[in-house]
Amino acid sequence: MRSNHQLALVETAHSGADGADANASIRGEIATIFEQVLGRPVQITDKTNIVEDLDMDSLGVMNFVMAIEDFYDISIPLDRVAQIQTVADLIHAVDDLRSGAAA
C-alpha cells in the first residue's frame, strides 16, 4: 500500500497541469456530495474547514465520508479521516487513495 502511494505521488508530480484539473473536478464532485448529505447548498474552497465551516457533527462527518467512499469506490482508513480538516486535505486523500487503487 505504501509503495502504491509513493507511485501515485510520482505520477502526480509528472503530470502537473492534469493534476490541477483533476483537483478541480474532485472539488466539484465533493461539493455535490456535501449538498446531497447536508440537504442544502454549500460554497466550498480548498481552505473550507469541513467540520467548522460546514457545521457538521460527528455523525454528519461519518455519513459524508461514507458517501465520498461510495462515489470514488475507495475506503478512507480512520487515521486518514482524522487528518482531514480542509477540503484541500480531502481532495488530496481522495486523489491519493484513488491512484493507489488503480496502480
Binding site: D57, P77, A101
Partner: protein, 407 residues
C-alpha cells in the same frame, strides 16, 4: 485557561444538563437491595438499567464462593500474571470458559474493555486491516487505535458494504479482521452474523464477535449470537465480559487458533495490569456454572424482554428493531429526553439516559436493560410508569400524530 480547557465544549453541554435539574453522570444509589431494586434519592426504585441479565449479582452461591476465596486467598493479587504469577483460579476460569465455548484456548483480562484493547491491538498490526462496524463500542475503537493496523469502518449491520470494502483491499498483503458485536449496546440490535460469516468465508478474512451483551442471553446454551446464528465454526475469536450476565467484572477471549498462547507474551493490556482478585474469579466461575445449569434464567430473561419491548411498542414508543434485553426508546430531542428521564426516576424507575454523540443516530435514547430477575409485576409497573410519564409530557399524542394515526 487550564490544560483541560480544550474540553470546554463537553463541559458546557454537561452544565446545560445540570441546569435542567439532572446529573445523569452522578447517579448515586443510597443502597442496592437486589438485582432489580435499589434506594435512589431516598426512594425505592426498580432498576431497569444495569445489564444484570441473569440477575446473578446477589446469588447466594456466587457470594459464598467470593467470600470463601477472599478469606482464603486475600483481597487482591497485587500484580500481573506475567510478573507476579497465576493463581489457580485464573487457570480454572480459563479452562471453564474454553470448555463452555468448546474451544481450545481462553484468556482472561481484567475488564471487558481491556479484552478488546488487548485482542484487537495484538491480532492485527502494521500492514493488516481491521474492519469495524460503524456502531462499534468505544472499547473496539480504542483497541483499533492501540494497534497499528489500518482501520476501515463499514456501515452498521451492512454485510454488502463490508463485502465491498474487503473487495477493495483485494491484492493487498496483510490479514483482515472483521469485528462485530452480538448485541449492540445502544439499541439492542443483533449483527446479521450468518451473512457476515459468508462474507468472511468468501474474502478470507478473520472474524471476531464481541458477545458482551449476548453471553448468557442468546443461543440454545447461552453462548451468544454465534451459537444462535449457527456459525460458531466461522467465528475465529469471541470476546466477552463478566460484568453483565456473570455479575462481576473482567473480560475474556476464546479461540481455536493453535498459537493463541503467544498472546500472553505480546498482548500488553493483558501483561501490564493487575490480574483479577480471587473473589471475583470465584464468583465468576460459579456464575458460569449457574448460566449452564439454570437455563430457566435465560427463558425468564427473554420472556421479560419481550413483554417490556412489546408493551412499549404497543404504546407507540419508538424502539430498536428487535426485542432483546436491551430496549432503547428514542427521544425527539435532548430536552425531552432529560425531562422524561427525570420524571421516570422521580416515579421510581432507574434506567440510562444516553445522549449524542454516544448514540448511533444522534437521537437521545432512554436505554433499559431487562433482567431474568425482574418479576412480571415489575415489568408491568415499569410499563405503567412509562405510560404515565409519556402522557404527562404529551409524548404519546405526538407519537400518534407521527405515526399518522395508525397506532
Amino acid at each position: 485557561m487550564t490544560i483541560l480547557a480544550k474540553h470546554s465544549a463537553y463541559r458546557t453541554a454537561y452544565e446545560g444538563l445540570r441546569k435542567q435539574g439532572v446529573d445523569p453522570l452522578n447517579v448515586r444509589f443510597d443502597k442496592v437491595l437486589s438485582p432489580t431494586e435499589g434506594i435512589l434519592n431516598g426512594k425505592r426504585t426498580i432498576l431497569i438499567g444495569t445489564h444484570n441479565y441473569l440477575g446473578l449479582t446477589f446469588d447466594p452461591d456466587c457470594i459464598e464462593k467470593a467470600v470463601e476465596a477472599t478469606r482464603s486467598q486475600g483481597t487482591g493479587t497485587t500484580g500481573s500474571r506475567v510478573a507476579n504469577g497465576n493463581y489457580d483460579g485464573h487457570l480454572r476460569l480459563e479452562q471453564a470458559l474454553a470448555d463452555f465455548y468448546g474451544r481450545d484456548h481462553a484468556m482472561v483480562f481484567s475488564t471487558g474493555y481491556q479484552a478488546n484493547l488487548g485482542v484487537l491491538s495484538t491480532l492485527v498490526g502494521r500492514g493488516d486491516h481491521l474492519m469495524l462496524d460503524a456502531d462499534s463500542h468505544a472499547s473496539i475503537y480504542d483497541g483499533s487505535r492501540l494497534g497499528h493496523a489500518e482501520v476501515i469502518r463499514f456501515r452498521h449491520n451492512n454485510p454488502d458494504d463490508l463485502y465491498k470494502r474487503l473487495k477493495r483491499l483485494e491484492g493487498m498483503p496483510g490479514d483482515r479482521l472483521i469485528v462485530v458485536e452480538g448485541i449492540y449496546s445502544m439499541i439492542g440490535d443483533t449483527a446479521p452474523l450468518k451473512e457476515i460469516a459468508a462474507v468472511k468465508r468468501e474474502t478470507g478474512a478473520y472474524l471476531l464477535v464481541d458477545e458482551a451483551h449476548s453471553l448468557g442471553v442468546l443461543g440454545p446454551t447461552g453462548r451468544g449470537l454465534a451459537e444462535a446464528a449457527g456459525v460458531e465454526d466461522d467465528v475465529d475469536f469471541i470476546v466477552g465480559t463478566f460484568s453483565k450476565s456473570l455479575g462481576s467484572v473482567g473480560g475474556f477471549c476464546v479461540s481455536n487458533s493453535p498459537d493463541f498462547d503467544v498472546m500472553r507474551i505480546v498482548c500488553r493490556p493483558y501483561m501490564f495490569t493487575a490480574s483479577l482478585p480471587p473473589g471475583i474469579i470465584a464468583s465468576t466461575l460459579e456464575a458460569l456454572v449457574k448460566l449452564q445449569a439454570e437455563p430457566k434464567r435465560r427463558a425468564d430473561l427473554i420472556r421479560n424482554a419481550h413483554r417490556f419491548y412489546n408493551g412499549l411498542v404497543a404504546m407507540g414508543f419508538e424502539t430498536g428493531p428487535e426485542a432483546n434485553p436491551i430496549v432503547a426508546v428514542s427521544m425527539p430531542d435532548t430536552e425531552t429526553a432529560v425531562a422524561f428521564w427525570k420524571l421516570l426516576m422521580e416515579s421510581g424507575l432507574y434506567l440510562n439516559l444516553a445522549l449524542p454523540p454516544a448514540t448511533p443516530t444522534n437521537t437521545p435514547l432512554l436505554r433499559t436493560s431487562i433482567s431474568a430477575a425482574h418479576t412480571v409485576q415489575q415489568i408491568d409497573t415499569a410499563l405503567a410508569i412509562f405510560a404515565d410519564v409519556g402522557r404527562k409530557l404529551g409524548f404519546m399524542e405526538s407519537d400518534r400524530r407521527r405515526a399518522g394515526g395508525v397506532v
